[in-house]
């Protein structure tokens, strides 16, 4: 199924949970925040939130800024 991930089209082999997606991206344990379809998905819900086709996923982190 396809999703939008950080603005780019991405094909997933199956309907992953957010935890599984984060794991696949080798981001487990990183300090990130996740938004799906413009709604925050709290860390506590990553394991229980399954992505659907067409979801728009944003994964962000902190970088240098003023």
């Amino acid at each position: 199924m396809h999703i939008q991930l950080n603005g780019d089209h991405r094909e997933l082999a199956s309907q992953l949970t957010i935890s599984e997606l984060i794991d696949q991206l080798a981001l487990t344990g990183r300090r990130i925040a996740v938004e799906v379809n413009e709604e925050i998905v709290p860390r506590s819900q990553h394991a229980d939130t399954r992505l659907s086709p067409g979801d728009r996923v944003e994964i962000v982190h902190a970088i240098g800024g003023g």
Binding site: N6, A33, E38, P42, H61, A62, I63, G64, G65, G66
Partner: protein, 266 residues
């Protein structure tokens, strides 16, 4: 000490107390080592960061800014830089709150265009209202318009941060008259955010009674950022002390410091 002398009380923003009145940004440094060293030399306790899409498929051991500037040591102030609408700014603040485990202090900035980075005050006011209602403590970047500053305060922003001049320009305080009016009217901390180019700019803002200054480019783009960070610390401390001490009156004519009495030619 007489009762009408100015007393030093620490900077307090939404109930958080800070020993330093210098806020620093973390953009534009060569690397995180330089960021960490400059932040430390500045003596700051409040450090801004930006929120951006994570690089995917890159080095998993990529260094993390929050390792260089740890949340255990500094209060992190996530910004909404790069947002041009209230909606994007609100989304960014919510992402930041999630990123920082519920930390609700944010620096709101909604920009008008990428040439001037001048604040879009209409969108800023909208975003401020939404964020305050959602429980955020909002430190807000704005123009030096006293009416807008007061309106942001009325909405419930915990600090109002007018620009001294354009972001990253280093032109200093271009409209001190307007800043003075904002300071006169204010009931929340006023901090100069943007435009500080050199320590004398920072000292002037503090002498005028600003609660603090936020500096990024003037430190990061100095030839020696760590040294400049220290210089900014000294300037902010000096400016604050001068504000508390209250400067001498200006006079139209000279006034000798050495007494006339007892001169050998008298």
């Amino acid at each position: 000490m007489s009762a009408d002398q100015r007393q030093d009380i620490p900077l307090t923003v939404a109930g958080r107390v800070f020993a330093s009145r210098l806020l620093v940004g973390t953009g534009k440094y060569r690397d995180f080592d330089e960021t960490a060293a400059a932040v430390e030399a500045s003596g700051t306790e409040l450090v801004t960061v930006a929120v951006r899409r994570t690089n995917l498929g890159q080095n998993p051991d990529e260094p993390n800014l929050l390792d260089a500037v740890p949340t255990s040591r500094y209060t992190i102030l996530p910004n909404t830089a790069g947002c041009y609408t209230a909606k994007d700014a609100v989304r960014t603040c919510k992402l930041a709150r999630e990123l920082l485990d519920g930390h609700n202090l944010v620096k709101l900035e909604v920009l008008g265009d990428d040439g001037t980075l001048y604040p879009n005050v209409v969108e800023t006011l909208k975003a401020a209202e939404t964020l305050v209602n959602d429980g955020f403590d909002v430190m807000v970047y704005t123009s030096d318009d006293p009416i807008v500053a007061k309106e942001l305060e009325r909405i419930g922003c915990c600090a109002v941060m007018p620009l001294g001049s354009l972001i990253g320009s280093g032109h200093g305080l271009l409209n001190p008259t307007s800043l003075a009016i904002i300071l006169d009217n204010a009931e929340v901390p006023i901090l100069v955010d943007a435009g500080i180019g050199t320590p004398s700019d920072a000292a002037l803002a503090m002498e005028m009674g600003c609660a603090g200054v936020l500096i990024n480019s003037a430190i990061a783009h100095a030839r020696q950022p760590v040294r400049m960070a220290h210089a900014m610390k000294l300037a902010v401390d000096a400016g604050r002390e001068a504000y508390l001490a209250e400067r001498m009156p200006r006079r139209a004519s000279a006034s000798p410091s050495s007494p006339f009495a007892g001169r050998i030619n008298a």
